[in-house]
Symmetry: C2
Subunit: 285 residues, 2 copies
Amino acid sequence: MLVFLNGRLVPEEQAVVSAFDRGFLYGDGLFETLRVKNGVPLRWDAHWRRLAAGAETLRIKLPFTSDFLRAQARELSRQNQLPEAILRITLSRSVGQRGYSPKGADTPTLVMSLHPAPPLGPTSPQWKLHTASLRVPAGDALSACKSANKLLHVLARAEAEAAGADDALLLNPLGEIAEASGANLFWIEGNALHTPPLSSGALPGVTRADVLAWCQSQGIAAHKTTIDLSRLLRADGAFLTSSASGVVEVIALDDEAISTSSMTHRVRTALLAAWAIEANATAVR
Amino acid sequence: MLVFLNGRLVPEEQAVVSAFDRGFLYGDGLFETLRVKNGVPLRWDAHWRRLAAGAETLRIKLPFTSDFLRAQARELSRQNQLPEAILRITLSRSVGQRGYSPKGADTPTLVMSLHPAPPLGPTSPQWKLHTASLRVPAGDALSACKSANKLLHVLARAEAEAAGADDALLLNPLGEIAEASGANLFWIEGNALHTPPLSSGALPGVTRADVLAWCQSQGIAAHKTTIDLSRLLRADGAFLTSSASGVVEVIALDDEAISTSSMTHRVRTALLAAWAIEANATAVR
């Protein structure tokens, strides 16, 4: 497997970073996870915008242009013969002086790598969620960034798996649902969709934004609504959105069943169709 | 410069980790920072206990014993001819599958490296603090760990430096002072010392604990007290404690002066004496 490392494609075992890289020392970096389909990294521009916004917040200078990296991502897919994959882009502040001050760490590290993708059949997987005991911060400047500080998400996921669930549901200190560890949450009430606002601590997910845009195009009401666990349990349906898995139906929370809704299937179908169109349109260009 | 990497001492430029190390991807790890004096890593057992407790929380298995690593730390100091230094121990969960789940990542990475130490003269440095705009979580299971998720501390330090201050003061969402970005806070009211409780979001600092123990031995009242900014500004004196710098006097907060107290000098002198005794006693053993 080849890996993009600071401008070159290198074999996996040569894809190393300094033990003094601030990404390794402090999680001082950002990442993006994209679905690759037909060799095309989907929703590239939206992911790039979030990465660039995060880099602005962290004051890390992006070392390559969007166009160059997109071309390299396709090249990575081609050379590795992996037209269907997950692409991870990792940006770190790289090596600087010891200590928290970022002074002098001016040559960022950028890595792109491919990973096995979960299958994307027409029928949604059905996931059980487990409420994490750790709480996420509620919507500060950092929670808008997809940063490399994900220990809370790691521990939440491990806790969920230990409880026999597929993912963790994260609450903020006020008890509002923020997101799942690796996905945004939507739920259905009557004919309307709802998703937690970013102020509850949700990451501004690319697929979340796409689902909201689709709702608008279809005349389906979609609201950003703060929600607690009891309201989610009474919902008419719920699903998760992510770039890796698209739309995943939620069927239980902490061993209590959640209703299923045909709307989940409808959203999933629309999203997969949009992805297929993007992958084909871009591939023949 | 030699670096300890997973059991071997290697030249700095060979001290690399995989770009798939979860420390680099997610900040999925822990660290400790110790002062080395006369080639002796000071307060080793206390730092080791905190590292081991964090590893328990994160479910990372420590790959070496305390005794082995302490001996290697001394060897590092000897071979690098750096009897006075800062020692950083970094433990990460290393490589696993893609995604937050820690499943299968069972061979941790452990790095030890030496760095220049700030001078430790009898007179305390005098630092100005700047209140960070980002807030730290208030005393959850993760804030008791010295984890590699330190992006908030990095941004807070950068903000403080941009404001012309030496370090950032971190508040929790309730507005209570938790700590400085790289040190614990103490303040003086009359004859008593105070420090924020861990429930405010303070890291359980080794030097903080040592100062509390010293107070008890001297019959000086020391309280764990929640405090807001206005109370700190009215204090009779304030100082920071850390393994790197010992005791550092705080003279200003957000450009308002804070009183100075002879107590700060007394605590600093006592701590430096204790360190000198430990360095000599252990060295001749």
